[in-house]
């Protein structure tokens, strides 16, 4: 008996220790609901000492007797109870909100007879707190999720827009690339002195590939077999716009148009236009005119000779009237001869083979020849004609004498021709720093109307006033004169006031060579 009690006591003691270690409030009651056992947590919750409550009916704890009775009734019917929000009071009289769980224990394996009831109490405050905490956290979480969803939606929209823009940009880029690749002309772009683009036509012109060219600098390309000719055109002094012909041998002639822009003009857009055929046609045209003009000379000569023979009396005597008519015919024929001569000169200019013998001469020599018979002619018209010859001590000029005389003569003859009264002055100055001569031909003639000034130097142009007064003159004179002067490296321009007079200015450099481009090293 003692050992059994001892064993039981020991069992009981160990049970109690185990129960006390638990953090949940546990209370064991008899089937009459008197408290048999209470763990530390339980005691702590209700604020009583163990001796105070042992043997007491547990219903003293419950605030609401009706709720307690219901719970007990359920327990008695061998059900497990779970009372949520059950109020119990502690020693101080404070109410504690709990979840009360009750569970019957049974005698024997058949569970027919109740032995005890186990009560477990959870303080809901904790729960409530936890629950509220969780609820608020869940609320925040769902808000956050909502925000995230919205943010994601916004992001998706942005991405869609960005994608759309990207597609648009790609489309534009493809369009541009397509245009560039299908251009009938060559296109090369240079940015910051590096080649950034070369289209198929340009690659073809220069028989090169993107690999050879892209990313290379202009300087590097001066050693490229075909492109060097192009980059050599872009010399130190870069104008905003350049248009020049580039010859790639006999089978390809290109017209190069280049626009320079940006800082230090390091950005260039170069367009290359194949003018091989155009040049060919132009040459054919020029050749045709040349041949035609040559052929015309034979009958013109024959007419000239025969008419002269008549006028000289070689064909017998002629009457005064006959003589006059024949003279008019002769003069007409002479004009045709002059026109043919001019046409041939024009073709020579176009073919670039106009200047022939370049030698050094004194300008005074040239001027005397150019003045020729103009002085007498002017004086016979009642005009005063003055000219000052430049000193022989001044430098000689390198010119094609025949052509320069032709040019200056043309201008002087125009001055005499278009002046009815007044004077003609010819002045020359030597401009030392520029090393060139400036010749001025001033007249007090009919002048050039404002709207005609632009076209004065074009082929076959004759001023309106000139047309009204005389029918002579082919209109080629000034075109040819301008070409001759410019071919020598000089310039020609004029001032004029209708009804008052005209002054023509010519410059002729001592050394007639044009400036050449130097390749940057």
């Amino acid at each position: 008996m003692e050992s059994k009690n001892l064993t039981n006591s020991i069992k009981k003691a160990s049970n109690e220790e185990a129960l006390d270690a638990l953090p949940i409030s546990i209370c064991l009651v008899s089937k009459n609901f008197s408290i048999l056992l209470a763990n530390k947590s339980f005691l702590g919750m209700i604020g009583y000492e163990r001796p105070e409550i042992l043997g007491e009916n547990i219903n003293f704890l419950f605030n609401d007797k009706i709720v307690a009775d219901e719970l007990f009734a359920d327990l008695k019917s061998k059900e497990v109870i779970n009372g949520e929000g059950v109020l119990i009071k502690n020693k101080k009289g404070q109410s504690i909100l709990t979840s009360t769980i009750g569970c019957p224990t049974f005698l024997g394996k058949d569970k027919k007879e109740v032995a005890n009831y186990i009560f477990v109490f959870f303080q809901v405050e904790h729960f409530k707190g936890l629950e509220l905490n969780i609820k608020s956290k869940v609320k925040k979480l769902s808000e956050d999720t909502k925000n995230l969803a919205q943010a994601r939606k916004a992001l998706m929209n942005i991405l869609e827009d960005a994608d759309e823009e990207r597609q648009k940009a790609e489309l534009e880029r493809d369009k541009t690339l397509s245009i560039i690749n299908n251009l009938a002309d060559g296109l090369i772009t240079i940015e910051d002195n590096l080649i950034t683009l070369i289209n198929p036509i340009a690659k073809d012109f220069f028989q090169t590939t993107e690999k050879e060219v892209l990313g290379k600098s202009v300087d590097e390309l001066t050693s490229h077999p075909t492109l060097r000719a192009l980059v050599e055109m872009f010399c130190e002094e870069k104008p905003p716009f350049l248009r020049k012909e580039l010859s790639m041998g006999d089978s390809l002639k290109l017209e190069v148009s280049a626009i320079f822009f940006g800082v230090d003009k390091k950005n260039i857009i170069v367009m290359l236009h194949d003018v091989t055929r155009e040049n060919f046609i132009e040459r054919m045209k020029t050749e045709f005119v040349s041949i035609a003009a040559h052929q015309l000379r034979t009958p013109l000569s024959a007419i000239k000779w025969i008419l002269k023979m008549f006028l000289d009396g070689d064909m017998g005597d002629i009457t005064e009237t006959q003589s006059q008519f024949l003279q008019k015919t002769y003069d007409s024929n002479e004009r045709m001869i002059n026109l043919v001569n001019d046409l041939l000169n024009v073709t020579k200019i176009e073919e670039g083979r106009f200047l022939q013998k370049i030698q050094k001469y004194d300008l005074s020599e040239v001027l005397i020849e150019a003045v020729g018979t103009s002085k007498e002619l002017a004086e016979s018209k009642g005009l005063s004609f003055n000219y000052v010859l430049p000193s022989k001590k001044l430098p000689k000029i390198s010119v094609d004498k025949e052509k320069i005389v032709m040019a200056i003569q043309n201008i002087i003859e125009n001055a005499v021709f278009y002046t009815k009264f007044g004077k003609i002055n010819i002045l020359t100055d030597y401009l030392d720093p520029q090393k060139e001569f400036m010749i001025r031909v001033q007249d007090t003639g009919m002048g050039i109307p404002e709207d005609q000034k632009v076209r004065i130097f074009s082929r076959f142009f004759r001023g309106a006033i000139a047309l009204k007064t005389e029918t002579e003159g082919t209109g080629l004179g000034l075109f040819i004169a301008k070409n001759i002067i410019e071919a020598h490296g000089g310039k020609i321009w004029f001032d004029s006031e209708e009804g008052k007079g005209t002054t023509f200015y010519l410059t002729l450099p001592v050394d007639g060579k044009e400036k050449s481009c130097e390749v940057k090293n």
Binding site: R297, T298, P299, S301, A302, W305, K308, M309, D314, V340
Partner: protein
Amino acid sequence: MSKKILILEDEIIISDLLAKKLSFEGYSVKTAQNGKQGMDLMTQETPDLVLTDVIMPEKNGFTVIEEMKQNEMLKNVPIIIISNSGQPVEIDRAKELGVSDWIIKTEFDVQEIIKKVKNKIG
């Protein structure tokens, strides 16, 4: 004996005119329509003066002149060129070959040509 002149010119109107005028002045004139014909006539009978065009069929003026200079009988015959045109380069070349005058048809009339002929051979 009248002096003999040979005219080499493919334009009949020109050669007829010149021939007529020169005959009138007392010269004995023969004409050829091309360079080859001209050379043949020259070798048959040495002329006192040759008036020749430059552009002609069969043989052009320069070739004729060069051949004349190779020929013992012909190398001293005075030559006057009458042409439709004259580039300085060509004129220089002709002068080097011994041509005494280069006349451009449209710039001279017959009278002046005859003066030149008279100057050369009297």
